[in-house]
């Protein structure tokens, strides 16, 4: 790190040097100006001439010019693709000239790979751009979350957790590459300040990203930062402030508050004993031997011994108190109003030969859960300077610091508030009584918490105040670039870039925290635990790029050749105590058993050469080809160098064919690309997981394994012997279980894409449609092997999948009146499917994944699980015990299709209405189709907590059973026959056979009505738990994601105040949610099946309990000076 700091300080010095020089050359004796396009982008190369003279100028790379001119003279501003403009020189010394596009020939420009700006009409592949300015008002603290619903083909699974990374899915692929100003950065998506972003270009898939090599295989988000200012005076100060309040879950499990904790309608705060459950047992101070679901007595005010019933320490007796639903509103009483404030101050300056921008953003988030917060400081400084007209130097440095003493960790376990309030949420205690976390007689100051029970749950305030998860991350990226314009056509650029971060997380588990049944070294009365997770990443990319542009007659050539050296290092550490020896001392050595500590490091070097060649044939055709050679240190010598190409073609038909007047623009395009790579991984977990292959959530039995963005070597193709320990901390060895393939080659992905851009009615309506078809493979695939080989898998170049789909983006301006009412609408739609196209291994005709064998042509997101058994009329079949009948036998007998995990399609609709200085916009987006396993529902049902367990037939049976227990003093008489789907039937004769998860010989069976009663508790914890079908729900949802009401203060009010522009907006996010079941926010589960790591999201085997999303309301103030 010392080395890094030294490097950074050198950078800063150089930038300061450049800035100082820049000021020396500022002049004021002539007029100055900037030429920008309709999107406020500076336009270089614009010729400006003074009418009637031969004097003139051409705008520089930042769109700026200086010119000696007298008052009254007229400037003619000319540029291809734009309408020529005349500007009269006045007393004003500074001019900002906005070009209006010549509607006939549209010349919209987007940023593509390597930060190269290209005219949209020449592009042979799909790129969609989003302006940064569109995302900073109704803002999300995470800049990438804001892209949700705005880009066709990009699905953003906005993570509801504080500091959570969104799950990005682009055309079915996760793990996108982030590029800032042309250079790849390692991003957790939080190390970018939205206020510094000029635009986001989404390069959809390998066609657009071929130049980035294997890292761009899934597509890239190319971010262009703001540079300098477009202000005519060359100086601008911008202040942007957002304040958002969080409150109210848009989706949450609904718990019942009719029955409290307990078992078989009985509960008392008592010692465990062997007698009949209904006979009172001995009193205890700490009820730590019982762990109970919400199957206790009904709240009727009956007298029971409870945690806060008066306790006589001399006799050890509790005096019973009334059993009432004191905690009906525990959740609402516990959560607080969250706050997110973001303040950005940016100062920018531009001159004829320099630009400068410096920006500071502070983001503060106060969580909805008590005592959770997050701070993020972001400094960005960028400058460019034309040392000579031919030589430009520019640099940018982004410094981001995130720090918090406590962020929540949420999963199915004792650390989750959702778990404790909504899944095992007994209403028998009032959370407000627990605010005094060390209250006696149970509580002991700084040692033992005062809690509602000591078996499973903790005092939530104790958790909030004492069970802390700290996070501290320093993240820096930046570059220095030297650009030399050899001739008008030839340009050489040299750049060196670093991206580096340093992250430390820890968890302090306080003395007396109840981790019963979770962490193996826990025991009641322990002093807590401590864990630490440190990670460091450093990456340098140095590249040289030579560009050449030339027009020869009607042929235009644009060529790029370059080389890149990428150097990567990563170090990680994970350590945990195994029970603290001294309470309240959080250091790793303070451990009862030897603490566990693990390190895991990696290094990688990549050399690449690449080219890009564009040919334009007059107005008819543009052809682009690219090629790249990669040399990866992850493969052994001799197998580590590979080449892959791409080609794309575009033709703007409207440029040379007379089309009906309604069609103002028509372009067709097609492209293909191949990308190769391998033995790297996108994300990385803890050092513990890297070394042992076991997640920390398995080690601890709660919490979630933390993944960081990585993009380094995976070492997945090696036969290794690693250190391991299995017993009594003795050293042992673990050999790898995946057999390496010494002849393994890079994987390959071949992608085809075709599309059409049409604009109608003077570009008032635009349609962009793309069809893509990707052949993914042969992959580097760990194929299962026969266990008798003593390996579980072997690496092979095998398995091809085919992913195809299409995207449509529609832009319209039904009403366009600059001085009156305008309406803009953007809509997008995307869909894809992924199927197996080839297995590619001799002797293997099926691909076993999970509990199903997939064949060629099968969709990989089809999920298989257990199903209800039904008779011919559709009645559910029960067994002799009153439980649901379940299939038995082999997988193909037990499991049947439960549907598909991926949605049929995703959509987004953006509407913006404006009238003079008032604007109103809203976005509605969602995903339609598909299935997901509702783990909340599953867990809350079996816990007896879900509201549905006191409603309908189940609720009626529960009440009848309760009434049969004589106020919880004897065993209930079972009262449930069947379930919500009806009484059901049972098999009267015949032996069932199963196939595809259902009875296959219905003809040979006879059925009779099911008449066997079962208790509600037995039913909810019986076979139904293993019937996946009963917890599969529709994955369709739609969300009113953002609403903005903006008001721009009229200029005339502002003139005297020195403020150039001011706007205020009222914003709301995540306001409405529409779904079949609203107990969790499906939005965050963007990926159904992901072929990159062959994981499935939302399948029964991947249950999770996440925080739900909160509604946000607030306001934004934007001032420009």
């Amino acid at each position: 790190m010392k080395q890094n700091l030294l490097t950074i300080s050198r950078w800063l010095l150089t930038i300061a040097f450049v800035m100082t020089c820049g000021n020396l050359f500022a002049q004021n004796s002539t007029i100055r100006g900037v030429v920008i396009d309709e999107y406020n982008q500076p336009v270089p190369g614009v010729s400006i001439s003074i009418q009637g003279t031969t004097t003139g100028a051409v705008t520089g790379s930042e769109g700026r010019f200086t010119l000696a001119a007298n008052k009254g003279q007229v400037l003619t501003v000319k540029f291809i693709g734009f309408a020529t403009q005349d500007v009269t020189v006045t007393d004003e010394a500074n001019y900002s000239i906005q070009l209006k596009s010549d509607t006939k020939s549209l010349s919209e420009v987007v940023v593509t790979a390597y930060g190269i700006k290209k005219e949209v009409k020449k592009l042979g592949y799909s790129v969609q751009e989003v302006k940064g300015a569109d995302l900073i008002k109704a803002r999300d603290p995470n800049p990438i979350n804001s892209l949700a619903g705005k880009v066709a083909g990009l699905t953003v699974g906005a993570n509801a957790e504080m500091l959570g990374r969104p799950e990005l899915v682009l055309r079915g692929s996760k793990d996108l590459l982030f590029v800032v100003d042309g250079a790849p950065i390692n991003s957790d998506t939080w190390n970018i300040s939205p206020d510094d972003i000029e635009s986001y270009s989404i390069l959809k898939g390998p066609n657009a990203a071929a130049l980035y090599g294997s890292r761009g295989i899934n597509g890239a988000i190319v971010i262009t930062t703001k540079k300098g200012t477009n202000d005519k005076k060359g100086f601008e100060v911008n202040f942007n402030s957002s304040t958002l309040f969080e409150r109210g879950l848009i989706a949450a499990p609904q718990p019942q508050t009719e029955y409290g904790r307990g078992n078989a309608y009985h509960y008392e705060y008592q010692a465990k004993d062997n007698s009949n459950v209904y006979l009172p047992a001995g009193d205890v101070l700490y009820d730590n031997a019982n762990r109970l679901g919400e199957y206790g007595p009904r709240f009727q005010g009956q007298l029971l011994r409870q945690y806060d019933s008066p306790y006589d320490p001399l006799t050890g007796k509790r005096t019973p108190t009334p059993w009432v639903a004191r905690g009906k509103d525990n959740w609402d009483n516990f959560v607080e109003t969250g706050l997110i404030t973001t303040n950005n101050l940016a100062v920018a300056a531009s001159g004829t030969n320099y630009t400068l921008r410096t920006s500071y953003t502070h983001m503060y988030q106060k969580g909805v859960m008590p005592n959770t917060k997050l701070n993020s400081d972001n400094f960005n400084i960028g400058a460019s300077y034309n040392i000579t007209p031919k030589l430009t130097i520019d640099g940018n440095l982004n410094f981001n610091k995130q720090y918090t003493p406590n962020i929540p960790d949420v999963s199915y376990g004792p650390n989750s508030y959702i778990y404790m309030f909504k899944v095992y949420g007994s209403a028998d205690y009032d959370v407000r009584d627990l605010k005094d976390i060390y209250k006696g007689p149970q509580g002991v100051q700084d040692l033992v918490q005062y809690a509602q029970e000591y078996g499973r749950l903790n005092n939530p305030y104790f958790m909030a105040e004492k069970w802390l998860r700290g996070h501290d991350k320093t993240d820096v990226y930046g570059y220095l670039k030297l650009n030399y314009k050899v001739t008008k056509d030839l340009n050489i650029a040299l750049r060196s870039q670093i991206t580096t971060w340093n992250q430390s997380r820890n968890e302090k588990v306080p003395s007396s925290a109840n981790l019963n049944a979770y962490t193996s070294w826990y025991k009641f009365g322990w002093y807590g635990d401590y864990r630490q997770d440190d990670r460091r990443l450093f990456e340098n990319n140095t590249d040289i790029a030579i560009t050449y542009n030339k027009n020869v007659g009607k042929v235009s050539i644009s060529a790029l050749a370059g080389g890149n050296a990428r150097s990567f290092t990563y170090n990680s550490f994970y350590g945990t105590t195994r029970a603290l020896a001294l309470p309240n001392v959080y250091v790793l050595s303070n451990s009862v058993q030897t603490p566990l500590s693990y390190t895991w490091d990696s290094k990688m070097q990549v050399y690449s050469g690449y080219y890009s060649l564009d040919f334009g044939f007059d107005k008819y055709l543009n052809v682009n080809t690219t090629g790249r050679v990669d040399n990866l240190s992850t493969f052994p010598a001799g197998k580590n160098t590979f080449f892959y190409p791409s080609v794309s073609v575009a033709s703007a038909i409207s440029d040379y064919v007379e089309l009906p007047k309604a069609i103002s623009f028509l372009k067709v395009r097609a492209s293909m690309a191949e990308v190769k790579g391998g033995l790297t991984q996108s994300n990385i977990g803890t050092a513990y997981q890297q070394v042992t292959g076991i997640s920390t959530s398995t080690l601890l039995n709660y919490g979630t394994e933390l993944y960081s963005s990585y993009d380094g070597p995976s070492y997945a193709n090696q036969n290794t012997a690693a250190y391991a320990t299995y017993y009594n901390n003795l050293p042992s060895v673990a050999y790898s279980n995946t057999l390496a393939d010494p002849n393994l080659k890079a994987y390959s992905r071949l992608s085809y894409e075709g599309g059409v851009d049409v604009k109608f009615f003077d570009n008032r309506l635009g349609l962009d449609a793309t069809y893509f078809d990707t052949e993914n493979g042969p992959q580097i695939y760990p194929l299962i092997t026969a266990p008798s080989t003593t390996f579980s898998a072997r690496n092979a170049n095998a398995i091809k999948t085919r992913r195809s789909g299409f995207e449509i983006a529609l832009n319209g301006s039904p009403i366009r009146n600059p001085n009156g009412f305008s309406w803009d609408i953007n809509m997008n739609y995307s869909t894809y499917k992924e199927t197996i196209s080839d297995i590619g291994v001799a002797g293997l005709t099926e691909l076993p994944l999970g509990n199903h064998n997939y064949k060629v042509g099968d969709r990989l997101d089809e999920v298989f699980g257990t199903k209800f058994q039904r008779d011919k009329s559709g009645n559910v079949v029960y067994d002799a015990t009153g439980n649901l009948l379940k299939a038995t036998g082999s997988n193909s007998q037990i499991y049947g299709s439960l549907g598909h995990l991926n949605p049929d399609f995703s959509f987004g609709i953006n509407n913006k209405f404006s009238y003079k200085s008032v604007s109103f916009s809203f976005q509605f987006d969602g995903r339609i189709g598909g299935k997901i396993y509702d783990y909340n529902y599953y867990a809350a049902r079996q816990g007896g907590t879900d509201l549905s367990t006191v409603e309908g037939v189940i609720g009626a049976a529960r009440l009848a059973e309760w009434n049969s227990t004589a106020v919880g003093t004897k065993a209930p008489t079972p009262a449930l026959i069947g379930n919500e789907l009806g009484q059901g039937v049972k098999i009267a004769s015949g032996t069932p056979q199963y196939n595809n998860g259902v009875i296959s010989n219905l003809d040979q069976l006879t059925f009779a009505p099911n008449t066997t009663p079962i208790t509600v508790q037995s039913y909810l914890n019986g076979t139904v738990k293993s019937i996946d079908e009963s917890f599969m729900i529709s994955r369709s949802y739609a969300k009113l994601r953002e609403v903005t009401i903006g008001f721009a203060l009229p200029k005339k009010f502002l003139q005297k105040s020195g403020i150039k522009a001011a706007s205020i907006s009222l914003v709301g996010r995540n306001l409405l949610y529409f779904a079949e079941r609203k107990d969790f926010d499906m939005d965050q589960y963007a990926s159904g099946y992901n072929s990159a790591d062959r994981t499935t999201g939302g399948a029964p085997s991947n249950g999770a309990l996440q925080s739900s999303t909160f509604r946000r309301f607030g306001f934004n103030i934007n001032l420009t000076f």
Partner: protein
């Protein structure tokens, strides 16, 4: 201007050079682990083999003990069902993998024919038998050899034949390799802490287990030579040393990092949701077995806790929903013993392969007439040794009455009872006149001695002998007709990745149907 250009160029070039550092050397190799072909100390491999030998389902309160009908769940949420609806089996090739590595590493580090080679042979045999007795034919001769990606299936008979040979060879090697080191600790990596001689005893005791498990094939497979092999061991224990007492048992000792399972797995708080099985308590209460008091809690604490009628086992054949509603009608596990200590020090030692089992095995072999020259009285003697050894494991002396403390599930002492060993011993006195009746006694007492130890072995024994009678036919068993399955389906990955060989094997063994109701050759 020129000056500035040069300065700026120089400065930025310097920066580029200082930041971009090329990393040299072999970056492809994982720096966080060794190469599989490098030297790995044998004791680490010994540690892996011994530390992972016993599976979770074989440890106390693992699923095996439900199949053994010792343990009955009354709440599916925490202890699963009592169903025997198993399908695909796990496999044991991981043991083979490390046995192969032990051979390779011992060869280079210790030399040929070392005791490690003997140990490797034992683990090879153990691995093969473990899987074969569950499914039938299995890949053995080509298994674990990287030349074969789809190993052929060896017949179950060949698997047993090869395994017996491996065990015999292991014993032969130890006879020469150990020399004067018999009483030395085998290896620091061995978690069982056995001496060299104790390992040799274990291997021969395991040979006896394997041979007695072949009882159904003893008469029709002369090439296996089951009876003669058994007799050869018993008749010559000098060259085939076998266990001589409980001190030779293979006992898994629980330690802070590997606690007694209800504590390690956090299920201790759910211990009220299981009962002791009817199969075992019916036997121990009928015979007035003092071990009853140590296994179970009385159903009615208000009644006579010393009365055997107060100890009632739960029937796994009962519908789980019924058990869940009436758990108090049945005995729980003795809380003070089984849940009194997180290292299991209050419970009987957890035996994985032990002396009591061996005694009953020898008694059975004698009873079957396998050992010429030995009589029913010799069988009785071994039978009595087995009972006495089991008593000792419970901390009881078969020869003298003891005062035992009865506990409830929470560990609270309910009072004491003085055992009546004489009545018990009279009730189970070995029948020297009726071989069939005697065999039933042997199997019954062997079963009781297996209480919560030795993994699935009591299930395997029941499968072979039909003794003692298990609860079968009830809805709680979960299978069609409540039948207890005879075998498992093959490991799913073996079916998927070695499909042609699998199909061929299934065709020859079971007429093409891989079903759990079919008998393997071993138990046909």
């Amino acid at each position: 201007m020129k000056n500035i250009t040069i300065k700026a160029l120089a400065a930025s070039l310097l920066l580029v050079l200082s930041v971009s550092s090329c990393q040299k050397g072999n970056l492809a190799a994982n720096p966080n682990a060794g190469n599989a072909n490098a030297i790995v100390p044998v004791s680490l491999i010994v540690n892996h083999l011994t530390a992972t030998l016993i599976r979770n389902d074989e440890l106390p309160f693992g699923d095996g003990y439900k199949a053994d009908q010792f343990q009955v769940s009354n709440y599916a949420k925490y202890w699963g069902t009592n169903e025997d609806t198993w399908s695909y089996t796990a496999h044991s090739y991981e043991i083979l993998k490390y046995a192969v590595q032990l051979e390779v590493q011992a060869q280079s580090q210790v030399g040929a024919n070392s005791k490690y080679l003997a140990m490797a042979k034992f683990f090879r045999a153990y691995s093969a038998i473990w899987l074969s007795q569950r499914v039938g034919d299995i890949p053995m001769s080509q298994a674990g050899n990287t030349q074969y990606s789809t190993p052929i299936f060896d017949s179950q008979k060949d698997v047993y034949k090869n395994s017996l040979k491996l065990l015999e060879d292991a014993n032969t090697i130890l006879n020469t390799a150990l020399g004067t080191t018999q009483s030395a600790i085998f290896d620091t990596g061995d978690i069982f802490g056995l001496t060299n001689l104790q390992w040799q005893k274990l291997i021969n005791t395991y040979r006896l287990r394997t041979l007695i498990n072949l009882s159904k094939r003893a008469n029709d497979t002369p090439d296996l030579n089951v009876k003669a092999q058994f007799a050869a061991i018993i008749n010559n224990v000098a060259t085939n040393p076998i266990m001589t007492g409980n001190s030779d048992n293979m006992v898994y000792k629980f330690v802070a990092s590997n606690q007694y399972p209800p504590f390690q797995q956090g299920n201790n708080a759910y211990n009220e949701f299981m009962n002791v099985g009817k199969t075992v308590l019916d036997i121990t209460t009928a015979t007035k077995d003092p071990r009853t008091f140590l296994m179970a809690t009385p159903v009615n604490t208000a009644a006579n806790i010393g009365s055997f009628t107060n100890y009632i086992g739960a029937d796994p054949g009962t519908a789980l929903a019924t058990l869940q509603n009436t758990p108090g009608n049945y005995s729980r596990f003795n809380g003070a013993r089984y849940f009194g200590n997180n290292l299991g020090t209050t419970a009987e030692p957890f035996i994985f392969v032990g002396y009591p089992e061996m005694c009953f095995g020898v008694a059975e072999a004698i009873n079957k007439g396998w050992i010429s020259g030995l009589t029913a009285n010799d069988a009785k003697s071994w039978y009595d040794k087995g009972v006495a050894a089991s008593f000792a494991n419970f901390g009881l002396n078969v020869a003298a009455n003891s005062t035992v403390t009865i506990s409830d599930l929470g560990g609270k002492a309910l009072g004491t009872v003085t055992t009546d060993n004489a009545t018990f011993l009279a009730n189970i006195a070995y029948n020297t006149t009726d071989a069939t009746a005697a065999n039933a006694q042997i199997q019954q007492q062997k079963y009781v001695a297996f209480f919560m130890n030795s993994g699935w072995e009591s299930f395997m024994n029941h499968r072979r002998t039909g003794l003692p009678t298990f609860s079968e036919g009830g809805v709680g068993i979960g299978t069609i007709g409540g039948k207890i399955p005879k075998r498992w389906l093959y490991p799913l990955d073996e079916i998927n990745a070695n499909n042609a060989n699998y199909k061929a094997s299934i065709a020859t063994q079971y007429g093409g149907a891989d079903v759990v109701t079919a008998d393997t050759w071993l138990t046909k």
